[in-house]
């Protein structure tokens, strides 16, 4: 029952987001076409007659609004997100072409920052009030005060330019020929280091703080006292009793973290000119490519809401109390 309610809820959210996407260009002053060729944009998209025709057909402005809405929804179901003005290709195609790089970046960062955040948070809570805890807390609060793009720029300057250790641009060396598949893998990983590090550093604070709070809460629980009354060692209690209970809220948080990471890629991919979806969004903003911008918005939103739904589902499986309700 709980699951069905959730499903209905997420479906409603999806409908609302689609509607926002539909109405936004239509409620803006002027018709969508004049707004699409905004002279205020840094570099307004040049419209050929042919493109104009394509857009007119896409928006279907000559039809009544209800019909436009239905044909928009039908289009979405068929994967039709519109036509990118700048790239001159279907929006979905443009997005899918960039997807693998964002997945690589977000995947790598999640795989590093979640376990690291959990470890540091648990360590901090276990040493509550001691120097180790205070030191960790202040350090992490401090690095969390850096906006990710600024952090990325600093890493570019120090590790990319001053020390010349890592490439600062793109996901692989342009026009490179590799003697072996390992060469290619190494090149990709080499390009991944700085952007992934930026994402990890700028997002570790959330996981750390949540784990620390969760752990502090658990350590004050009666069952921890019970465990100590049995004569169990501190290490054992930490691993077997405290950790599992403290991790439960982290599961939900991790999905939200993935959401934050996806948003974080907008800045990090921009700084490193990393060819993923975040960088695509920056270009869409720069060239005021609205169909592309809205397509990416929709794509990111669905990914983030989807991650939340998955987290809810996993949580239900992990916590024996919810499972049996």
């Amino acid at each position: 029952m709980h699951q069905i309610n959730k499903l209905v809820y997420y479906f409603a959210i999806l409908l609302i987001i689609l509607s926002i996407n539909f109405f936004l260009p239509r409620v803006m002053p002027g018709d969508p076409l004049s707004y699409l060729s905004d002279p205020g944009a840094d570099m307004p998209a040049r419209m050929t007659e042919e493109k104009r025709e394509l857009l007119l057909e896409y928006y279907g402005l000559d039809k009544p609004i209800s019909e436009q809405y239905i044909s928009y929804m039908v289009g979405i179901i068929h994967g039709d997100l519109g036509w990118s003005i700048y790239y001159g290709a279907p929006v979905l195609e443009v997005i899918l072409g960039r997807l693998k790089w964002t997945l690589l970046l977000v995947g790598t960062s999640t795989a590093i920052h979640v376990p690291l955040g959990i470890l540091l948070g648990a360590t901090s809570a276990w040493a509550r009030g001691k120097k180790k805890d205070t030191g960790l807390l202040i350090s992490i609060l401090s690095i969390s005060s850096f906006p990710s793009f600024f952090l990325g720029i600093l890493l570019v300057i120090f590790f990319g330019i001053k020390l010349d250790l890592f490439p600062i641009n793109g996901a692989q060396t342009a026009f490179a020929t590799y003697s072996s598949p390992f060469g290619k893998i190494f090149d990709i990983l080499h390009h991944l280091v700085l952007p992934a590090t930026t994402l990890v550093i700028s997002h570790i604070g959330g996981t750390y703080l949540l784990m620390r709070n969760s752990m502090l809460g658990v350590l004050g629980e009666d069952y921890i006292m019970t465990a100590r009354a049995k004569g169990l060692s501190e290490q054992y209690i930490l691993h077997r009793h405290a950790l599992m209970n403290a991790l439960l809220p982290i599961v939900t948080m991790t999905a939200m973290t993935v959401g934050f990471l996806i948003m974080g890629t907008i800045f990090v991919e921009t700084v490193f000119a990393y060819p993923g979806i975040g960088n695509l969004l920056y270009n869409a903003v720069l060239y005021r490519d609205y169909p592309l911008l809205q397509g990416i918005f929709l794509f990111m939103t669905i990914a983030i809401v989807g991650a939340n739904f998955i987290a809810d589902t996993i949580y239900v499986r992990l916590d024996p109390r919810v499972k049996n309700e």
């Binding site: 049995k230 169990l232 077997r240």
Partner: protein, 310 residues
């Protein structure tokens, strides 16, 4: 034979509003196989006394005096030595089984882990022993129940599981903190019966505010008020010949004796009254009670009272 001897015990802990004197100079001893009842209102420090014996309090707590268990002073041995005593020699059954059981661990496993630790049994054998323990506290279908999580147990069953956990390593002394709190009448009677059986073999410190349960189970009873003992004697003696006004008040509040509550509230352990700590609520308070703090005196063999009137 004395099993546990507490002398001059003080447990104080600092808070933002001042020092809480939760246990303030307590002397008492528990003999082998004796059931000793510690009775008092909520907030009189009886649970803190139990936790002090187990050394389970926050490191900022100051504990003074001696706790001698089979000749060893529990307050001076190392933490490693203390861990070997917890659960194996002295077990504590904490109050409120609902929050005292780990919600995400199977009940059987929570019993088995202590057995594995102290008796060195393998996982499998420990699990079998845990099922045996659940069976011995009369949980039906114990082998199936051992694989369930605490929230699948009823209140009475959780309390049984807590008792099984306490008994698992066959300790010499059990500290049971309010084992019958919050249970309805029939379940309470069953749990009381269960504790009575287990207490035959072992020494027990029963912490409760339920005089009826204490009378049914204990050999001796002590009454605790505002961090100190005010009266203690053999159970029958307490009920036949109560000397301290607090004891009499407590007995008067029993259902069979007219349900008359003691007026007033127990004092804050941060700001204790001068003189006798009970004098603000005492109907017999005299001038001396406000000024001088009475000592615990032995009025008859084995009957101690802290009152100028006795």
């Amino acid at each position: 034979m004395t099993l546990l001897e507490i002398s001059d015990l003080k447990t104080h802990f600092p808070t933002q509003s001042g020092i809480v004197r939760a246990v303030d100079t307590i002397d008492l001893s528990i003999r082998e196989r004796e059931t000793f009842g510690l009775i008092g209102e909520t907030g009189c420090g009886k649970t803190v006394l139990g936790l002090t014996l187990m050394r389970l309090l926050h490191p900022t707590t100051t504990v003074e005096g001696t706790i001698r268990y089979r000749g060893k002073n529990l307050l001076t041995i190392s933490e490693a030595e203390m861990r070997l005593i917890r659960g194996e020699e002295i077990a504590m059954i904490l109050q409120n089984p609902t929050t005292s059981l780990n919600p995400v661990m199977r009940v059987g496993e929570q019993i088995a882990e202590a057995i594995r630790l102290h008796q060195g049994l393998r996982r499998r054998a420990a699990k079998e022993k845990a099922v045996e323990m659940l069976d011995s506290v009369r949980i039906p279908a114990a082998s199936r129940r051992a694989n369930e999580y605490p929230h699948e147990f009823s209140g009475g069953m959780k309390q049984r599981a807590m008792i099984a956990m306490g008994l698992a390593c066959d300790p010499a002394l059990i500290i049971a903190d309010e084992p019958t709190k919050g249970l309805d009448v029939t379940i309470k009677a069953q749990i009381t019966e269960l504790i009575k059986e287990t207490a035959k073999e072992k020494a027990m410190l029963l912490i409760t505010h339920d005089l009826g349960v204490a009378r049914a189970l204990c050999d001796r009873i002590a009454l605790m008020y505002a961090g100190e003992l005010v009266e203690y004697a053999a159970t029958e003696e307490i009920f036949e010949n109560p000397l301290h006004p607090y004891t009499r008040g407590f007995l008067g509040s029993l259902p069979g004796n007219g349900l008359v509550p003691i007026p007033g509230m127990s004092p804050s352990l941060i700001d204790l009254p001068d003189g006798c700590r009970f004098h603000p609520r005492c109907s017999h308070a005299k001038a001396v009670c406000r000024k001088k703090h009475p000592e615990l005196i032995e009025v008859e063999a084995g009957h101690f009272v802290r009152c100028f009137d006795a």
